[in-house]
Symmetry: C2
DNA sequence: ATGATAGCTGACAGGTTGTCATGTGTCAAT
DNA sequence: ATTGACACATGACAACCTGTCAGCTATCAT
């Protein structure tokens, strides 16, 4: 989405701008994030900025996309590690995001995302991603799911199950990040997963040794 | 949240401001909504605005709250009409909101909400409501649900089921409003409800005539 | 008629954004 | 070496925005 000129930039300069932008988006809600502050911090002239990005929104979406890619990759890894158990993988995802948010060490690179979530009442992230990036995702991730663990009754059941889990997990993450008592949110999320399993997991997997 | 002075205003003047605000929020994304435009349209002096609301955000949240109240009332009505069938009621809710958004006639009063949803990539509405208003809601609405229709295994099952349905329905509404093909979103939502019922609805309601 | 209290107001300082005319650097062809 | 063509860089600028504040007005009890 940024102009090609942006990608022709020396990587160092490019990263400097992105880094300043991340910091600024983490500092205040989207509406208050100032392009001025970003370009001052990155020492980029005003005009140049508009060579690279049409406006604040384009830059923001670019950063969101970055994070979206990362979440997909992470989810692939988690599904693989859990051998296709979709519920376990989603819980892992929830925990990872929560941990990332709490851990002051790990905030380095994706701190801005958490800042966004916090500052905007969790507003931007999941809705924006939800629209533009999530929807095609299940298609890519679905392959890592072990269908034998699920009670699939028609062709698109798996996709729908994925959507439901994304919706519920996404909201749970938001609650967790904003809650005063994250542990309560987690146990609440666990209970929800439990209820979802009742209708989604395959009953009595027959083969005990599995 | 607005100052008491605001409520001492002649109702006509008050409504004029709110109305202008609704229109402005419907016109552009939150970040671009201009207090200037609102007060010009409502013929309110600049200083006065800041007598009533601390800033744009307070006004916005007030309007969101208005809509939230309305949704709760609507949901109560739908649950009653459906005799406590929570799935039917949520589907009704989904359809009502979609219809309201599509119907140019009905846009009058709550059009701004739809504008907000559209303009902000569905960003503000459900997240904000989700945080501040939804959470206490299940407690109020839960009384209208007929527990005999559900497979409740522990004390907070009903509340959790409510939360799941809110999460899933909320996201479905967002998709529906932004989708090019709303019918596809609706049928997708139906399929999700169907899957959810598998784990939530009481099996074999015994009485066939029901 | 006086004072107290509440509410009203518009000019203003300080900030923001997106544009654009003019500048610079590079490279190919003469 | 000169020229033109091209992509890219730049900062001054107009137009807009917000939140404040010193001073204004209306109302009402005494």
């Amino acid at each position: 989405m940024p102009s090609t000129t942006f990608f022709n930039l020396p990587p160092e300069k490019r990263e400097k701008l992105l880094s300043a932008a991340r910091a600024e988006f983490a500092r205040v809600p989207y509406a208050e994030a100032s392009i001025n502050k970003m370009i001052q911090a990155a020492d980029i002239p005003r005009g140049s900025f508009y060579m690279y990005f049409r406006d604040k929104k384009e830059l923001f979406l670019y950063l969101m996309g970055e994070y979206g890619q990362r979440l997909i990759a992470l989810m692939e890894k988690l599904l693989e590690r859990r051998q296709g158990d979709i519920f376990a993988a989603f819980l892992d995802l929830f925990d990872r995001i929560q941990a990332e948010y709490r851990d002051p060490e790990k905030k380095e690179r994706y701190q801005h995302i958490m800042g966004i979530v916090r500052n905007n009442s969790g507003v931007q992230l999941f809705s924006l991603l939800g629209m533009e990036d999530w929807l095609p995702i299940p298609g890519r991730l679905v392959e890592w799911v072990d269908p034998r663990l699920l009670d699939l009754r028609s062709a698109d059941d798996l996709e729908k199950i994925f959507c439901i889990l994304i919706d519920v997990t996404g909201q749970a993450v938001l609650r967790g990040i904003q809650a005063e008592d994250p542990a309560a949110v987690r146990s609440s999320y666990l209970r929800m997963l439990d209820i979802l399993k009742r209708g989604m997991a395959r009953k009595q997997p027959e083969t005990q040794h599995e």
